[in-house]
């Protein structure tokens, strides 16, 4: 019996013009998302390579490592960000490393190319979250009450059909009819990825598989919800209206309201406020050091090289002292901000998870490595690199130059200019960005996958119970 109902549901949906048109659009959108994602990835790759080359080119001609300033490291494009962009286009893609001090990301894709910020990229997150959830509603809002309005429900239940099997068959049949064509389009897109220049490794394929699984769970949530609402109402117009309202709240209102409420509930000092406090201390420390610099007296042996060396040592020690004080304040302010931000984010995400759309978005961005963790991870990798960079500079210059130093050019008295060898920029340690590890991204996505599964279960149970009590007349 279950088999006949599933078959009927599949055939009924697939044979409708609505289905053909809708899924033609859907397939085009999915393939377009894969294509534009791959194109963006290739553009980002070439921009990344060009920026790295230019960064090293700027060091050409320098003859002393002490002259190296503003060395930049870059965030390499993530292949999966091509499919779920997350915050990848909003955060800075480079960090200037000086050897000491705080790091900040700069030059986001959207700040460089604001037109893309106005018309955001079409990605799988958008297609699932907006388009496919609407399709699920469009096809299932009349799953039960539509059969009642048409009169087929009476005819069906004039036979020995158990209600439980009927609702189960309806849900399975609808899910298969709608999910299989979506999956086929996605699989086709996946096959095209290598041809479009996006090469995923084993971990990334696994993450992509989990992203598609999250998409199916999310799709299932709206399908079950539609069947549930359809089993609670007797008119298709009522269920459609109700589902549309729920969709608007779930996809558009709840996530934004959650962030707004969390922002109101937890007051996080702004970056500008913190920067202002740091600048005040920095100015104060500089003015103190300037006074010390004016009082600086070298040992009286008259050797200029020794004098420069003593001065640089003095400057380095002063910079270390300043940095120590700055770091103390910065770490206190940053920790305070970080803690408050963590509470705010926890609250915002907790509230937002009332919406399956938010849970889906968080799951997929975590799996794609383009979640909120992306920026923090890039900065943490940059911090680690800064230590290596500082050690390298120490070995080359004898000091950590991040605090500033004076360079004196000494010329011999015979009028011939010293021939100085340029530095070899390739000696600089390379920044090898390691993306978020698989266990961390999967671990971060699991709670949201669980929430989506729970929504499925709840709405399935709701549809099941509501239909067992449904008035078949």
């Amino acid at each position: 019996m279950l088999k006949y109902i599933i078959e009927k549901e599949l055939r009924d949906m697939i044979s409708s013009t609505k289905f053909v048109v809708t899924f033609a659009i859907c397939a085009v959108l999915i393939l377009l998302a894969f294509y534009t994602g791959a194109q963006n990835y290739r553009v980002s790759q070439s921009q990344y390579q060009a920026a790295k080359t230019e960064n090293l080119r700027q060091l050409e001609g320098l003859t002393d490592w002490i002259m190296v300033r503003n060395f930049r490291i870059f965030l390499p494009p993530e292949p999966l960000a091509a499919l779920v962009t997350g915050i990848s286009n909003d955060i800075g893609r480079s960090v200037t490393v000086q050897g000491r001090g705080e790091l900040a990301t700069q030059d986001s894709r959207f700040s460089d190319e604001p037109v893309f910020a106005v018309f955001r990229f079409l990605d799988l997150d958008f297609i699932f979250q907006i388009v496919l959830s609407l399709f699920a509603i469009l096809f299932a809002y009349d799953a039960i009450n539509g059969e009642k309005e048409r009169g087929t429900l009476r005819l069906t239940f004039a036979n020995a059909v158990p209600r439980a099997q009927y609702i189960l068959g309806k849900i399975i049949g609808s899910f298969l009819a709608l999910a299989v064509p979506v999956l086929l389009a996605i699989l086709l897109g996946c096959l095209l990825l290598p041809l479009l220049g996006v090469h995923l490794n084993g971990d990334e394929w696994l993450r992509l598989g989990l992203m598609i699984f999250a998409g199916l769970l999310y799709f299932g949530v709206f399908l079950m919800l539609a069947v549930f609402i359809s089993s609670l109402t007797h008119r298709t117009s009522s269920s459609f209206l109700l589902l549309l309202v729920i969709w608007i709240f779930s996809v558009l209102i709840i996530p934004r309201t959650a962030v707004l409420l969390a922002g109101r509930a937890v007051d996080v000092p702004s970056v500008d406020e913190i920067a202002s406090q740091k600048n005040r201390l920095r100015s104060q420390l500089w003015s103190e050091d300037r006074k010390k610099m004016s009082e600086f007296k070298p040992t009286q042996n008259g050797d200029p090289q020794t004098m420069v060396s003593e001065f640089n040592k003095f400057m380095s020690e002063a910079a270390d002292e300043r940095e120590k004080k700055m770091n103390e304040l910065a770490s206190r302010l940053n920790e305070d901000r970080h803690n408050k931000q963590a509470v705010q984010e926890k609250l915002a995400f907790g509230l937002a998870r009332l919406s399956p759309a938010a849970a889906f978005s968080m799951a997929t961005t975590n799996l794609a490595g383009t979640s909120m963790d992306m920026k923090a991870h890039f900065l943490s990798e940059a911090q680690a690199y800064q230590k290596t960079y500082a050690e390298f500079m120490q070995s080359k210059t004898g000091m950590n130059i991040g605090g500033g130093a004076m360079v004196f050019r000494m010329r011999s008295g015979d009028g011939e200019e010293d021939v100085e060898k340029p530095i070899d920029a390739k000696e600089l340690p390379e920044f090898n960005y390691a993306g978020l590890p698989l266990d961390r991204v999967v671990g971060a996505a699991l709670p949201d996958l669980g929430i989506l599964a729970l929504f499925n279960l709840l709405f399935f149970a709701g549809a099941f119970v509501a239909f067992l009590r449904y008035d078949l007349r």
Binding site: M1, Y4, E7, K8, R11, D12, S15, S16, R150, G151, T152, R154, L155, T156, F157, A158, N159, A160, V161, P162, D471, L472, R473
Partner: protein, 264 residues
Amino acid sequence: METTSTNEAVTNHAVNSPSQSRAMLAADNLTKRYEDGVLALDHVTFEVNQGHIYAMLGGNGAGKTTTINLFLNFIEPTEGEARINGIVTHKEPLRAKEKIAFVSENVMLYPNFTALQNLDFFARLGGQTGYSKDDYREVLLRVGLQEEAHNKRLKGFSKGMRQKCGIAIAILKDAPAILLDEPTSGLDPKAGFEFIRLLESLRDEGKAILMSTHDIFRARDIADTIGIMNQGRIVMQSQKSDIAGEDLEKLYMKYMAGYMEQVN
């Protein structure tokens, strides 16, 4: 006329009470009061044997569809019971439904399916999995649906064509009892005539048929037993032979008026 009172206002013309025989379809003091207090069916008792057609006559709200809904277990009785081949419908609905086919007033099948696909699905639901396409075609031709329509989608079918598909589904189920809810309503005279002839052939095959209708003349033409219903009660129940010489329309009006007077 012999009269047996099954409730105060009923005139029963030599119709067996359910307790006396094992009929294919039996309503025994069948009562339905809805949650809002409306008494839709009030101690209705009748039976339909194999090879017989029972026509329930009555106006809107008389209780005809409620009776059918109780036989199909779409609602549960407040009192009494409906039985199909001795099986109490609200106690063993699935077993009872194996013995019954149903044709509604306005047969609505799946519009995206062809006639053959609709027949295939409902035949399987009815437990008949051994039919071939030729069997479906044969039944469709029997009910008068032209061959060129067999592979067409239902969305373009007229009401008469859909009714033919509905009766084809009932035939395919091959159940011993058939329920028909206003089956000729809205059909043109030719289609109505063909439909009645088809019911006669089904009766001749031994099916027990319970039909609700507004159509006094068709009821008189085909029914073996006629029950006139008003306000949830059967106010007259008679064998066709007992009222052969009478004007059924006058009888209908008389019982309706008489009952109304009694009620008032």
